[in-house]
Structure formats: structure tokens, C-alpha cells
């Protein structure tokens, strides 16, 4: 199982457009990716509802986990995505 930690860079947090872009990227990867806030239980990263319900704010750290072929590469690209201010782009 691959694991990564990343701090949310989008100024609005992991909401709205950034959340939508993240979920789309996860869905496109085809892998079972989970996302958790510090101390929270991991949720299905393919669910926009659950990702938004996490309420991860700008600067908060989230943990991504994935299994399967290419899990490391997928997580690296997701980390890269969350490290950008998606709302400003």
C-alpha cells in the first residue's frame, strides 16, 4: 500500500472546484484511493460528497493511500495536484 501526506494549497480548502478536480483525477486513475484528515478515518476519494464533507482547509494536512499497479505514480500526481492553488488557476 502506497501512502503520501500533503498540505492543501488551495486558498478555499478542498472544496468546490479543487475538490471536483481532485475527485475527477482519482476517478480517472481507476485505483481505489482513500483520503483522510489528521486523526480522521479514511474515506473513498472517488466520492465528491465525502471529500467535501471532510472539510479540509487550506494548510491542513491530508493522508492519501492507494493500492494496485502504479499506486505510487498515481499518488505522486495527486500530491502534485493538491500542492497547487487550484482555485486560483
Amino acid at each position: 500500500m502506497a501512502t503520501r501526506q500533503v498540505s492543501i494549497a488551495s486558498s478555499v480548502g478542498l472544496h468546490a472546484r479543487p475538490a471536483s478536480l481532485f475527485v475527477q483525477a482519482v476517478t480517472a486513475s481507476g485505483l481505489p484511493v482513500k483520503i483522510a484528515k489528521e486523526g480522521g478515518s479514511p474515506v473513498d476519494a472517488k466520492s465528491i460528497l465525502m471529500v467535501m464533507a471532510l472539510g479540509a482547509k487550506c494548510g491542513e494536512t491530508v493522508t492519501l493511500t492507494a493500492e494496485g499497479d502504479g499506486a505510487d505514480a498515481v499518488l505522486d500526481s495527486l500530491v502534485e495536484l493538491l500542492s497547487r492553488d487550484l482555485d486560483a488557476e
Binding site: H15, A16, V43, D44, V51, M52, A53
Partner: protein, 562 residues
């Protein structure tokens, strides 16, 4: 069809034009029955609900595939919710706890809704999408048709209790011949949208929901008449009116003026840069009301000066040397801004909105004025900036100083508060022009909430009290030699436009689709006739009598324009 079903009744006509077609009824959303049998076989129930959610998603996706650019994202967002694994998981938990399928989906959706509503802004808006998915799924589980506006396979007339913005997103004049609602009023969302799209519409049509779907209905969106199962003769008469109307409208694309040449500028109300491009192609003399709220609403942070400048420049360029009257941000507790929210208020319409918010959050107003000044310098356009909700001379002076300090050429105020109308002379001494927002001016004159459809009777724009207040405002304008325009819905009514011209109004701003009828109407009457009509309307006992009196004095062709 039986003769028993042949009836005629009236609502309030809010978008002129006539239409005949089959009635399509917008189904109200069902609720999960309280006496639903509890779930005993959870795996089977999970299977059932997952299937229904997939059907809902597929239905929305199919509609999205053929929808307009505007409607597509709304429908796709709904489909995404219906396919969401988090929603499926929530429903599964509820089913395992023993809830019946419709109650399980309702509970699962509510759980997310409560969470999102507490987060506010963008998240709170997703609540509408989620509840829409719930309504569709519950309807399917109950074996009923999905609620909301169905796909109109043949051109039809739409009947509804009321239409929500999301429901009207898919409507086009090609398939939607007319709209009839039981609720709403002349300034409701439905009325404004219908007028923009040029779809005839009648609101406050009590009883329309009792008419079965598929029945042929004829509507006249000018006089608000609805005929169920019209006879051939009635249909022919309506068709005849439609032709006469088209003929009356065919004349001229020039500047607005009365028969004897008294100029009344005909302007467009716009809300976005996209509106500006479309309106600029029409024969209008400019923009009488550019609502700037779209740049600010639904945002977590204030738009930058650069972003605002780019949008304003685009709008000014679209109109070349034609005037563009810009209203500065009109927000407040009723239209809250995430980055400038002063908190909830007991009476948002009477609270810190418009210029009152601008005076507290000067940073927001100053950034907007800076952007407007930059766009003015870049284009050299005929820019006129006005403030919403001015009530006193002091507010007008405060605003005018800020606008002039930035080198903007013309500054004005909205007259929406009766105090500003009554004291227009002193206010106009300090500014270059005023524009009457009849919708708000009426709501404040009559102390009647314009969003409250049941008070529609108090919100009839023919109300003599409103005309008196407008007359007082115009007297102040005449005394100071400053122009006063109208940018509310009243200005787009071809009969009321005559009264306004008679009262001394020098420009009328409206949905661009309404301009041709107003232009024709003005051209049929002299200024003296308009003044006589204004006097007759003000002398009337109530709104109905006022309208009646004016129509009796009008050129018969005007009746075809209504």
C-alpha cells in the same frame, strides 16, 4: 374534449405574446411516505436503491448530452451526485438500520445537506443538487414520474406551481411555447426569465395545476388570459392577434421617441459580459442598468481590481459609444457575500444592503470604482456610475465624491427608497442623473415584500401610489434639469412606458426583448397624450382602474402589443 373543460380564466400577464399548445405539468416532488414498510432484506434493498440512483444519473446525463451550455453543468453536477459512492454508502447504512428505501435515501441526503449547509457558500448550493437527486430517486421508487420540468419532446406550454432557477435552466423558446404558474409575481424569477427568453408567461394563475396534462391551452401573456381547450374561433382570434402584433413590431429600429419626437432613450438591462454581447447586437441605445453582482456572488474572495477591470472593459467595448449605466455592487443580507457578510438580519430588505454595505466595506466599493475608472480610461466609453439604495443627500454626496475623485465622468443614484424620491431635488443637486428602480421603490412604497407572490396585488406596477412617488421624483429632476430614467420591470410594459414618459422620465431600461414593443408604443402617441394618460392613471382609484383608463385613451394598436 368535453365542453365542460372549456373555460377561460385570468392570472397576471408578465411576458407578452400568445401561444397555443399542449399543457405539460411540472410535477411537484413527492415525499417519502411515513408509513413505508421497514427494510427487512437489506442486501436486496441496497441493490434496488443503487439501481434507482443509477437510473436517475443516466436520465440526467442523457438530458445533459443535448442541453445548452448553460444547463449542461447543472445537469452533470446532479448526475455526479447520483453516482456518488458516498451517497450510496449513506443509503446503505440507513437501509441496514431498517429504514424503508425512500426514507433511507431521504435520511442519507439530509445528513449531507445539514453538513453542507453549515459550511455555507459553494457547499450550501450543492444542497439544491442533492435534494433534486433525492426527489428524483424517491419518485422512481414510488413508481411516479420524476419531478421537475420533463423533457419537452413537442413544443408545449409549461404549468407549474412555481419554477426554481435550476428548473428553468433547460428551457428554450423553441420547445417551451409558454409558461403558466400558480405562484410568483411580476418581478419573480420566472417572469424575468420568461421575458428574457421571449416566452409568453402568466403568473398567479390559480387553478392551472388542476388542468390535466396534454390538454390544449391558449395563453395571452400580455393580458394574462388562459383558455383551456380553446375553440377553433378562439385559436384563430389569438393567431390573428399574434400576426397583428408582429406587424406592429415590424416598424423601426431607431431611437425611442414619442410620435411628436420627444426622445425617450430605450436601453437594456444586463447582468453579465455575455448579456452585454447579446444586447449590443440589438437596436438599443445602450445599457440603462448593468448589474455587477455576478462578479461578486458565489465567491469566497473578492474579485481583484484586474479581474473586474477586464470584465468592465469587455462590457464597455461591446457598446462602443453607446452609454453604459453601471450600478455598483448591490449586496446585503438578502444577497450575502462570503467575503463581506455582515451577518443575518431580521429584515434584510430594510438592512445594510446596497450603498449601506458599501459605506461599511469601503474596500469593496473602492476596488470596484477603481476598476470602473481603469476600464473607462482604457475605452473612453460613455460610462455612468450609480449607487443602489440611496436614501439621503449625505449618502449621495459621499458616493459622488468617491466616483468623481477617480475621474469617472458621470455619477448618479438609484431611486428605490421613497425618501430619495420625495427629496430627489436635493439629491440630484449633487449628482448628474437618477434611475428609478420601480421594483424596489414599489416594495418600499407599499411595504410589501416583492418576493412574496401572495402580495402580488400590492405589487401591481400600475398602483397609483407608486406613480405618485415617481411623479414627485420626476418633479425634482425637472427642477434641477437632471435626467431621470426607469430601470425596473415597469419600463418594459408598452402601456406603462407611456405613463412614465408622461411623468417626465427620459430613458427606459428593460430586458432587451421588450424594447421593440415599447418603441412602437411610444411612436404611436404624442407627449401630450402621454401626459394626459399619466394624469388619468394618477387620478384612478386603484391599479386596475389606472390601467383601464390608460388603455381607453391609447391607440388601438397598443392592445396588440400587450
Amino acid at each position: 374534449m368535453s365542453d365542460a373543460l372549456h373555460t377561460t380564466f385570468h392570472g397576471i400577464g408578465v411576458s407578452a405574446g400568445t401561444a397555443v399548445g399542449p399543457l405539460v405539468v411540472v410535477t411537484p416532488p413527492p415525499t417519502a411516505p411515513a408509513d413505508e414498510a421497514p427494510t427487512t432484506d437489506a442486501p436486496a434493498a441496497v441493490e434496488l436503491v443503487r439501481g434507482v440512483l443509477a437510473d436517475v444519473a443516466a436520465g440526467l446525463e442523457a438530458r445533459a448530452a443535448t442541453a445548452s451550455d448553460h444547463a449542461k453543468p447543472i445537469l452533470e453536477a446532479g448526475a455526479m451526485m447520483a453516482r456518488d459512492p458516498g451517497l450510496a454508502m449513506g443509503v446503505e447504512t440507513q437501509l441496514q438500520a431498517g429504514k424503508g428505501p425512500t426514507n433511507a435515501i431521504t435520511a442519507a441526503v439530509e445528513e449531507y445537506c445539514v453538513m453542507f449547509e453549515s459550511l455555507g457558500g459553494y457547499m450550501a448550493e450543492r444542497v439544491t443538487d442533492l435534494r433534486d437527486v433525492r426527489d428524483r430517486a424517491v419518485a422512481r421508487l414510488l413508481g411516479k414520474p420524476e419531478p421537475g420540468v420533463p423533457t419537452l419532446s413537442v413544443p408545449s406550454i409549461l404549468a407549474a406551481h412555481d419554477l426554481a432557477p435550476a428548473e428553468t435552466a433547460t428551457l428554450t423558446a423553441e420547445t417551451c411555447l409558454g409558461i403558466v404558474t400558480e405562484a410568483g409575481g411580476p418581478t419573480s424569477h420566472t417572469a424575468i426569465l420568461a421575458a428574457q427568453l421571449g416566452i409568453p408567461a402568466v403568473v398567479q394563475a390559480i387553478g392551472i395545476m388542476a388542468v390535466p396534462a396534454g390538454v390544449t391551452v391558449a395563453i395571452d401573456g400580455g393580458v394574462g388570459e388562459i383558455t383551456i381547450n380553446p375553440t377553433d374561433e378562439e385559436t384563430a382570434l389569438l393567431e390573428e392577434r399574434k400576426k397583428r402584433r408582429a406587424a406592429a413590431l415590424a416598424g423601426g429600429t431607431g431611437k425611442g421617441a414619442t410620435k411628436d419626437g420627444y426622445p425617450v432613450a430605450l436601453l437594456a438591462n444586463i447582468g453579465t459580459a455575455d448579456d452585454a454581447r447579446k444586447a449590443a447586437e440589438q437596436p438599443v441605445e445602450g445599457v440603462g442598468l448593468f448589474r455587477t453582482e455576478f462578479l461578486f456572488l458565489d465567491r469566497d474572495t473578492m474579485p481583484t481590481v484586474e479581474e473586474q477591470t477586464a470584465t468592465y472593459t469587455e462590457v464597455f467595448k461591446a457598446f462602443g459609444d453607446r452609454r453604459v449605466v453601471v450600478r455598483t455592487l448591490d449586496a446585503g443580507a438578502d444577497k450575502p457575500l462570503k467575503f463581506a457578510d455582515l451577518g443575518p438580519e431580521e429584515n434584510p430588505a430594510l438592512g445594510r444592503r446596497g450603498i449601506r454595505l458599501g459605506r461599511i466595506r469601503t474596500d469593496v466599493l473602492d476596488a470596484q470604482l477603481e476598476a470602473l475608472a481603469a476600464a473607462y480610461k482604457a475605452t473612453g466609453a460613455d460610462v455612468r456610475v450609480m449607487a443602489p439604495m440611496i436614501a439621503t443627500q449625505a449618502e449621495a454626496i459621499w458616493f459622488a465624491q468617491r466616483v468623481r475623485a477617480l475621474g469617472l465622468p458621470k455619477v448618479g443614484v438609484m431611486i428605490e427608497v421613497p425618501a430619495a424620491a420625495i427629496r430627489s431635488r436635493g439629491i440630484l443637486y449633487n449628482v448628474d442623473f437618477a434611475s428609478i428602480g420601480t421594483n424596489d421603490l414599489q416594495q418600499y412604497t407599499m411595504a410589501a415584500d416583492r418576493m412574496q407572490g401572495e402580495l402580488a396585488e400590492l405589487l401591481n406596477p400600475w398602483e397609483p401610489a407608486l406613480l405618485d412617488v415617481i411623479a414627485v421624483a420626476c418633479d425634482g429632476g425637472a427642477a434641477m434639469g437632471k435626467p431621470i430614467g426607469v430601470c425596473g420591470e415597469a419600463g418594459g410594459d408598452p402601456a406603462l412606458a407611456l405613463v412614465l414618459a408622461g411623468l417626465g422620465v427620459s430613458s427606459l431600461s428593460m430586458a432587451p426583448g421588450k424594447v421593440p414593443a415599447v418603441r412602437t408604443s411610444l411612436g404611436l402617441h404624442t407627449l401630450t397624450q402621454c401626459q394626459q394618460m399619466a394624469a388619468a392613471a394618477r387620478a384612478a382609484g386603484d391599479a386596475t382602474e389606472a390601467k383601464q383608463a390608460v388603455l381607453e385613451m391609447a391607440d388601438p394598436v397598443l392592445l396588440d402589443l400587450l
